[in-house]
């Protein structure tokens, strides 16, 4: 009982939008597609929905090949980033429309509409037209229509991206609850790593039309399979630095080295790529034995309780996320500190060589 994408690819006008992809989404799971804009999240969803035909490969639904089946017969529901409703129908008719088309009895439709409307807090506005509602209400109407159908596959394509902060928080909390009740396969596309972590379930990270990793969300976060996945699953993106291993030590340039401990001990000598997340960059040494990097401050962004510090270290642009409001002078030289326990080590081709030791402990 699952949705299986078997070697599915998508090519438009000679350009590959989705490279051959194999994914298995189990029944009753929440799956997050995480990737930046143009990574192929929507393309992949359209393939799952059956709105687009794959160039190669098959799509299996409960073991049955549905690649050539019409969208109408697929038993899917989808919510777009834009608020898509039928403008000429009332909210009630909008929510009822999938059931009406399916020819369900009137009483049943009425009941289902009221349940979905109550869940989405649309009770008082069933007789209004969608365009008379606020953006958040419009999107809740679209969500209600997707839910009422009781589809086996529910596709949510950045459903909260166009909403304001507070509404987003509210709906984001509701979606896992709705998902628990439905027992369907949920697929949720987002550009925000934070959203993926909040939703839990499994995450597939996408980069330039490729699924770089698919697994339980915390697992993907803690042990990214390669540098690209680590970059995608970090906001702001992960910072990178070229390093080398010689003997039992990791060389971080400028005469700095730390002992290669734990999983790092088994690495062969050679060049590597080190990566650490912005929140692990420190402006004061947290304890002795930290890596110290000289850097030049290029910019700070203060969000209120936190400060984004953009720095330049020997040509590499790094971003740090530090607590509190820091007033630092642009262009000034400074030292930044990184705990070696927070450093991921990737091979030169990007594959993960050793995860950060803190992630293993967690």
């Amino acid at each position: 009982m699952a949705l299986v994408l078997d070697n599915v690819s998508k090519v438009v006008d000679g350009r590959t939008h989705i490279h051959p992809t194999t994914l298995t989404l189990e029944k009753g799971t929440m799956n997050v597609l995480l990737g930046p804009t143009l990574a192929g999240k929507t393309s992949l969803m359209r393939l799952m929905a059956g709105l687009d035909k794959p160039a190669t490969g098959r799509i299996l639904w409960h073991g049955e090949d549905v690649t050539d089946r019409r969208v109408q017969d697929r038993n899917v529901a989808m919510v777009y980033q834009q608020f898509v409703n039928y403008p000429t129908l009332s909210v009630r008719e909008n929510i009822a429309s999938p059931l009406k088309v399916a020819g369900r009895p009137k009483g049943e439709i009425e009941e289902a509409v009221h349940k979905a409307a109550a869940l989405m807090k649309l009770d008082g506005m069933l007789d209004r037209k969608p365009l008379e509602l606020s953006g958040g209400q419009q999107q809740r109407c679209a969500l209600a229509r997707a839910l009422v159908k009781d589809a086996g596959l529910v596709l949510l394509d950045e459903p909260l991206a166009n909403l304001d902060y507070k509404l987003r928080e509210e709906l984001r909390a509701e979606i896992p609850r709705i998902f628990e009740e439905s027992g369907a396969i949920f697929v949720y596309a987002t550009t925000e790593p934070e959203e993926a972590l909040l939703l839990g379930g499994s995450t597939a990270t996408l980069w330039e039309g490729r699924v770089t990793q698919f697994g339980p969300t915390p697992e993907v976060y803690r042990r990214p399979a390669d540098a690209v996945t680590a970059r995608v699953f970090s906001d702001p993106p992960m910072n990178f630095l070229k390093i080398a291993k010689a003997g039992d030590r990791l060389l971080f340039g400028e005469g700095q080295s730390v002992p290669a401990l734990g999983t790092l001990a088994g690495l062969r000598d050679g060049r590597y790529l080190a990566g650490f997340r912005p929140n692990h960059l420190e402006l004061e040494p947290p304890h002795a034995g930290c890596l110290t990097f000289p850097a030049i401050l290029s910019e700070t962004e203060i969000t209120g309780s936190e400060t984004y510090v953009h720095i330049d270290h020997g040509g590499e642009r790094w971003v740090g996320l530090v607590h509190g409001v820091r007033s630092l002078r642009h262009g000034s030289s400074m030292n930044v500190y990184v705990d070696p326990a927070h450093v991921y080590v990737f091979a030169e081709d990007g594959a993960l060589a050793a995860p950060a030791s803190y992630a293993l402990a967690a």
Partner: protein
């Protein structure tokens, strides 16, 4: 003219600077009134004539009927050779409007939703059909319809007018359809709508104003077109415009009846305009606002 306007404008400025009490004439209102009088004068004169008898029309100059009569209208509404002209016109105009819009709807949908080989050229070519004068097509249509036995039928005129009206309707409807996001189509398919059901239940109500505007333009062009409708008919499907112009040559000059016929010819157009007045501006922009 320009001088007069200038003097008027100066007068208005003077009045303003004085800020005196008493009736102030707004320049813009005066100009607007003059313009409206200028526009409506021929129509008023037509109405005026239609309510007089021939002797009064020819003998004296009067701004309104001295001897009000409805005989002219009675003639038209009782004489079959007159009122059948209206009936014939209405039949082929409605036929044409229905055919044009129902053919243009799927065509416009295809142009707005799909890309296919030569779609842009085809779209432009459709428009060029409107650029040729109807006289060009009068001869081939006459010969073609005569040879297949369609001459002097309503459907013949309706089909001939499609040549101009289908491209126009496609052009208008495509503009309106392009304003509807494709996601609505897809959402409907996901919800389980079949294409015909989606098109009729969801899509057509969305572009209802576009359909109204397209129908209006088809109606108007077909209603005022004279050359093809006169060429393709003789007795059974003779349009009112032909009846009017032929009467001039046949039975001398029955001024009053002709004027009444003219008034009655304006009425349907005015009625249709009244119903679609709110959408007309968008329609003239062909939906591309």
């Amino acid at each position: 003219m320009a001088q007069a306007a200038l003097v008027q404008a100066q007068g208005a400025t003077l009045a303003r600077t004085k800020a005196a009490a008493g009736p102030r004439v707004k320049t813009s209102a005066v100009i607007m009134t003059l313009y409206l009088v200028f526009l409506l004068l021929p129509i008023y004169w037509l109405l005026n004539m239609s309510l007089k008898d021939n002797s009064e029309i020819l003998s004296s100059f009067s701004l309104w009927p001295q001897d009000l009569t409805f005989d002219n209208y009675r003639t038209i509404l009782t004489d079959a050779s007159w009122y059948m002209g209206y009936v014939n016109s209405m039949i082929y105009v409605v036929l044409n409007t229905v055919i044009s819009v129902s053919v243009a709807l799927p065509a416009a949908y295809a142009f707005s939703r799909y890309r296919f080989l030569g779609d842009k050229h085809l779209f432009f070519w459709l428009l060029t059909n409107r650029m040729a004068p109807p006289a060009v097509f009068a001869l081939p249509f006459f010969q073609l319809y005569s040879s297949v036995g369609l001459f002097d039928t309503h459907i013949a005129v309706a089909l001939a007018h499609c040549l101009f009206n289908v491209p126009l309707a496609v052009w208008i409807l495509e503009g309106f359809m392009r304003g509807v996001p494709k996601e609505i189509d897809e959402t409907a398919y996901i919800d389980g709508y079949s294409f015909p059901r989606f098109f009729v239940r969801i899509f057509m109500p969305l572009i209802a104003s576009g359909i109204g505007v397209a129908a209006f333009f088809c109606f108007m062009f077909s209603w005022v077109e004279l050359l093809l409708s006169r060429t393709l008919t003789s007795v059974d499907a003779k349009p009112i415009a032909a009846t009017m112009t032929r009467t001039v040559s046949a039975s001398g000059l029955d001024w009053g009846v002709l004027a009444a016929a003219g008034i009655l010819t304006i009425v349907p157009g005015a009625l249709v305009i009244w119903f679609v007045r709110n959408y007309i501006a968008k329609g003239f922009a062909l939906g591309r606002v």
